[in-house]
Symmetry: C2
């Protein structure tokens, strides 16, 4: 194999940090042999279902029917892995590995198998010929494991099927893990995505005293699926400038000759690790953290490194043609079969594996032992390290509610005080993440305990309300992608956190939510050895109904629609109607594991409807009748008025108040929903209700007027198995808005109290005939309130008063 690849991809130049290098000839030989074993396994995974050790000539039927997987990125991943192993052994380092080129799973699975971890968690994939055969066959094979670094992969907490999040995940892992080094291989394809392009700036948020370090290794293998990559096709000067501009000290390891590359990588990686440790030592000794220029490495190596140089006149190694399966017709075309056999034999498996098929002892000796193996590092199975949060009693943060429906509070402000103390009691395992909006979302009490992390320059004026600190643990940056990536990395390594964002712009991270939910679903339900991690809790605030000046672009309550598409096993959604219910829900979310919890609660001043005791009782059920607002006296109602969401609840209560006064003989049942999955059947969601429960609440045949925070269709979607579905009339947001006062927006979308009253009148036979005057009055009220807002630029002050109260 050494005969191949003698022409370096980039010629050695004055920039090379090494000529000879730190490794002895025997070390090079051993490390290269280990790498040959890795590459052999990579090719075997992609191509073979039998004859794993090539102990007999390769036959067509040894190959899989469908050849799937990605060879291109794999060799550089295992190359990096092996060099990290050397340093882990030498310095007893605690290192975890993030594979950005997630399609290069063979490059990670190989080392995990060779160092024994794979067989420990999947005993049938034993370290012998039989195990290797199963290990090969399962790869990208129906019903088995994927070609990404999926949750089934020991040592992985980053799948990378969708590209863009490796680096933010890596930084999230490093926060509050002072002894950890996160080695993050970034693919040059992935590097073109927006989320990755801004994640480089995460180095402005790493504190060398109490955080660990991230060592980014940009692998320039030059190609994506079918195109060169941008970063591989700009000048060296531009590339170096770019990373200096991002605040790093870039090192370059470039070439293709394995022997030279081993020396270069060994020297450069060691220098980088030494710099990291020196920077940390210095900061920790003086306890005056500044922002270091952390090292990063550019590893420029051929795509499909060590693979066949060419076939049938097409360049393979060093070309996009090596991205996936370099050639595919091995079952039909003898020339292809021979090329495969030559390729695999070029790694000389007979020198690498013993009679039984196990890696020979000299090579086994190269890998770290026990938990020092990157494939077995407990940080990569963070649930093992997770400790429950020390939570203050959320009751202590309750707002006082003497007269229900009379006091105004910003619903999220007490939550901020609660989170402040969560942070106080868990100073190294809890962080809050939000895009520049912690104060905007009224959570600023947190700053009393921890400021915002800021390792970039400070100025004197920051002292006046800037709330910045080197040792802060509130994370703010104007990138939802980076923040959520950090949080996911933080959670998956066993810690806890809280994310908040503007409701409409949660869609920025739709795809990240999808991927995390899928990760959790598989981890929780299909990977037994993964211990539960803390749930990801997302508060959506600055909601659609209070976008007085931001207008139409900031109005979108549809993130929760997306959430309901994912596995019920890992999805939870709460819409607490007021401050106390929000506290109860938040406490519950922070105690939960292996879920994504979404809480929708606005930050503006809202009427308060529940005492803390009522809030606890109500949230325990998740859905319930509010007797205080009902007039059915526990008997059969004429109509059900239901609601979900803070503003929706206010309007429904106002409608109930109007009806109580103006239609006193109406038997109205008032229902509030906090846990939206209560509307689903218990056969579909663990929080769902039985048919009997739903019938008991909503009746099977009475009209239900439902006022909802979001798009009306979501309620129909959840309730569609419910018998009373035909009687269900949902009001919700319907993309009618602009610069509007809150009440004007409710009117435009027909979620106002007046609309609800009109709808009740129209649906209840006994009102329909005799409440014409009330209907007329409601219509006039709509018109006059719109006119008032239009003239005065605000709602009538008395609108807030005209709500049901004790």
């Amino acid at each position: 194999m050494l005969a191949r690849g003698q022409t370096p991809e980039a010629p050695p130049s004055a920039r090379d940090q090494t000529r000879g290098g730190p490794l002895t000839a025997s070390e090079v030989k051993l490390m290269n042999a280990y790498w040959r074993a890795c590459n052999y396994l990579s090719v075997g995974m992609i191509y073979l279902q039998d004859n794993p050790l090539l102990r007999r000539p390769l036959k067509p039927e040894d190959a899989k029917h469908r050849l799937l997987g990605h060879w291109g990125a794999s060799p550089a991943l295992s190359f990096t892995w092996i060099h990290l192993n050397r340093l882990i052994n030498k310095h007893d380092l605690d290192v975890i590995f993030v594979a950005g080129p997630g399609h290069g799973a063979p490059g990670v699975l190989g080392p995990a198998y060779l160092e024994g971890t794979y067989s420990e968690v999947y005993p049938e994939k034993s370290q012998d010929a039989e195990g290797m055969q199963l290990f090969f066959k399962q790869f990208s094979f129906p019903g088995h494991i994927g070609s990404h670094v999926t949750p089934e992969t020991p040592g992985s907490i980053h799948e990378g099927g969708e590209l863009g999040y490796s680096l933010s995940h890596a930084y999230g892992m490093a926060f509050d893990n002072p002894d950890l080094i996160v080695a993050c291989v970034v693919g040059d394809g992935e590097a073109e995505t927006g989320p990755l392009a801004t994640a480089w700036h995460s180095n402005k948020f790493i504190n060398p005293v109490h955080d660990g370090a991230v060592l980014p290794i940009l692998n320039l293998n030059g190609y994506k699926i079918a195109n060169p990559t941008i970063l591989a096709r700009i000048s060296h000067e531009e590339l170096e400038s770019l990373f200096k501009g991002y605040g790093y000290k870039p090192y370059f390891v470039e070439g293709s000759d394995p022997e030279q590359m081993h020396q270069k990588m060994a020297e450069t990686l060691e220098r980088a690790v030494e710099e990291i440790r020196a920077l940390q030592r210095q900061a920790r000794q003086t306890n005056t953290p500044t922002r270091p220029r952390w090292p990063m490495i550019v590893l420029r190596s051929p795509k499909g490194w060590t693979g066949p140089k060419e076939l049938e006149g097409h360049k393979l190694e060093g070309s996009w043609r090596s991205h996936q399966v370099p050639f595919g017709d091995v079952r039909q075309n003898p020339a292809h079969l021979k090329a495969l056999e030559d390729w695999m034999r070029s790694y000389r498996p007979e020198e690498l594996f013993d009679e039984s098929g196990r890696l020979i002892p000299e090579l086994r000796a190269l890998s770290p032992k026990g938990a020092r193996r990157m494939s077995a590092n407990p940080h990569a199975n963070g649930g093992l390290l997770r400790k429950d949060l020390k939570l203050p009693d959320f009751r202590d943060y309750a707002v006082q509610v003497d007269t229900r429906g009379a006091t105004l509070h910003e619903n999220t402000r007490p939550l901020g005080e609660f989170l402040r103390d969560v942070m106080k009691y868990n100073p190294t395992s809890f962080r809050v993440f939000g895009p520049d909006e912690t104060a905007s979302n009224r959570l600023q009490a947190i700053y009393e305990v921890s400021k915002k992390t800021w390792m970039a320059d400070l100025r004197p004026e920051d002292g006046d309300g800037g709330e910045l600190a080197r040792d802060g643990r509130v994370m703010e940056m104007l990138s939802e992608h980076t923040l959520l990536g950090w949080l996911e990395g933080y959670l998956l390594t066993g810690r806890h956190g809280f994310f908040h964002t503007y409701e409409a712009f949660a869609h920025v991270i739709d795809s990240m939510f999808n991927q995390h939910a899928k990760w959790l679903d598989i981890s929780k339900n299909h990977v037994k050895w993964r211990a539960p991690v803390a749930s990801e809790t997302i508060l959506l605030s600055s909601t659609v109904w209070r976008q007085d000046h931001n207008g139409f672009s900031h109005q979108d309550p549809g993130f929760i629609d997306l959430v309901t598409n994912k596995s019920p096993s890992v999805t939870r959604i709460y819409l607490p109607p007021d401050a106390n219910t929000l506290l109860v829900v938040a406490d519950q979310c922070l105690r939960s594991t292996d879920c994504v919890n979404v809480i929708v609660a606005d930050k503006q001043k809202h009427l308060q409807f529940t005492t803390m005791n009522e809030a606890i009782a109500h949230c325990a059920k998740g859905i319930g009748i509010w007797k205080r607002a009902s007039t059915d006296a526990d008997a059969e109602p004429d109509v059900i008025l239901a609601c979900c969401g803070d503003v929706a609840t206010q309007e429904a209560l106002a409608a109930a108040a109007i009806l109580r006064e103006r239609a006193p003989d109406l038997k109205l049942r008032f229902i509030n929903v906090v846990d939206i999955f209560k509307l689903q059947s218990s056969t579909e969601h663990p929080h769902g209700s039985t048919e009997r429960e739903l019938d008991g609440l909503f009746t099977p045949d009475k009209p239900i007027i439902f006022n909802f925070h979001g798009y009306a269709s979501l309620i129909h979607k959840l309730a569609y198995r419910f018998k009373g579905q035909d009687n269900l009339h949902v009001h919700g947001y319907k993309e009618k808005g602009n610069i509007n006062t809150p009440f004007e927006l409710a009117i435009l979308n027909e979620t106002s109290r007046f609309h609800l009253v009109i709808d009740v009148i129209e649906r209840v036979p006994k009102l329909r005939t005799r409440a014409g005057h009330l209907k007329e009055e409601m219509r006039n009220a709509l018109i006059s309130n719109l006119a008032y807002a239009h003239e005065h630029g605000r709602d009538r002050p008395e609108i807030a008063d005209w709500v049901w109260r004790d």
Copy 2:
């Protein structure tokens, strides 16, 4: 006002490009006066509802009740605008302006008003005191205009409510507009987002021969809502390196003293424009385009520049406190009222506006005239410039279908041939955009006419299938954000395009879709002077049902769910079942305006079901009975078997074939849906059906088994007003998947032919009792097919054959 701001934010240094500067004292005076007028208007818009010219002392009731808007970014926007005006006049330039800090609308609205455009499109906002009063009051006032650069703003095609897309929009505008300069002000908050961070690389896709230029102006005003920005708090060296690394030649204009800043900006902007023109001239003369280092400008100026220095001990100018409304209590607090009056009078409005309230002639003379005004540039109302595409006859690309259900074709391949010729006939007004997946999505025929744009380095091996070219018009980069931003900019300036991406990762651009749909909704329905632009057509390929090796992370058909949340006026969704229907639909989409068209069609080999004539007839209806697969002989059916989507249709047809053979007396009606909005009521969507139409198709009372491409709930959502809804049983994707063969995946999600047959048996009374053996057989078929896939790694070859055919 000149007395303020004498302390520069950053001290002048050796880096300053100018000392004296190119402007005469009188030019500085005039330009600064114009800027004073802009700033005066900005403050007026935010604060006042009356007394616009301060012709009497300011009273509390002159101020609005609710003070909303963003002062902080506005002064630098109008400052830049005025300096661009000077160069437009001097060199007769064609320039459009993109305001990245979208919240700084006052900084754009002011110039648009002063140069007369605003009054031309909104005559009541006339250029006099009365008009100015209305102009002030409407801003951020309920029912009027927003505080972003919304569609109502002449000269704007970028709202910026959600941040991150200014630069990709700007590049999209510049493609194929060789004489245009797009001046794009990027906010330093926005610059932290992922989409913006990677959009800088767009310079690798601009061809100086046939494209225009983008001049990015990064405005470092230092603060976001409540935090400093990262780019304002790194060293000058890092900042300069970063932009050199991105491939630009950065110029710096830094300071706060207006007089000095006018000189610096005038000199720097002129130098940048001259460089742009020289680079273009050189490339065009030699016609050998290389990638120039295009200039960009860093404008470092104080947040809230020229605003009050401080109030009540807090720094205002140059602080985050200036981000929105610097102080708010003007109706209650006389000190605040006085501060406001002093601030506004510091601009000396009496020197700027004449008796009637119009800008004085000396200042009016400074603005460009007619279409040269950036607020009136026709490119910013692209519908005016749009010409219909010259379309080849899509029938010419039809696949031959002799026996329906027997031939296999990659559905998207003929579309690629059609798009190839669209590109041929429209060489400067049509582009195709996709993330590295044009060939993967089988559209590679396009390369016969136009290669992929690539201005970064080329290598000899690119000749072997690289398909790269300097003058290509196929746009590929691994950033869905950048690509869609380019397309939006391209469409909004009057051109045409086509976007394609992997279905699951369309969620990456969920939020961009939302924003574009909202822009179109307002433009189409509320802004009369905007001419219709070409629709945005998005093909989702590599769909959920064919993720054989990518697995779970690549399975998400929910993008279309999101689409149905937006205004029916601008949303269209098509799921053509085969290649010919895809051609018909694509032709229709490319002819349409002011919509987002989403087409879902897989790229793999699929059975073909319609001849071209049938495809045309079927797509014209959007939904229809396939008599060939029905056995109800136009009479009342026992059951309806409906389907939507390519794989879903195949399985439904196979089920129909099984039933025809095994339950010959069953009267089955087979319905296929192409245009999914046909399932909605015509009262809700322009493509919707009447109640009678739906009843006629589906019957009001017969069981309907519906096999759907996406999440089942979407069908219920659309059809929920339909009487037969209770009889509707939808099969769709339910997050059950991993590495699976196509048929295995259908089985896991219960969308397979066998599941459909079982469901029909269970829902049709006459079968329920006597088709037990068939049901049993179907169950066995499920098990044996799963086992086959599990053992062989592929589906039984005969599965593809067992489909209904002629």
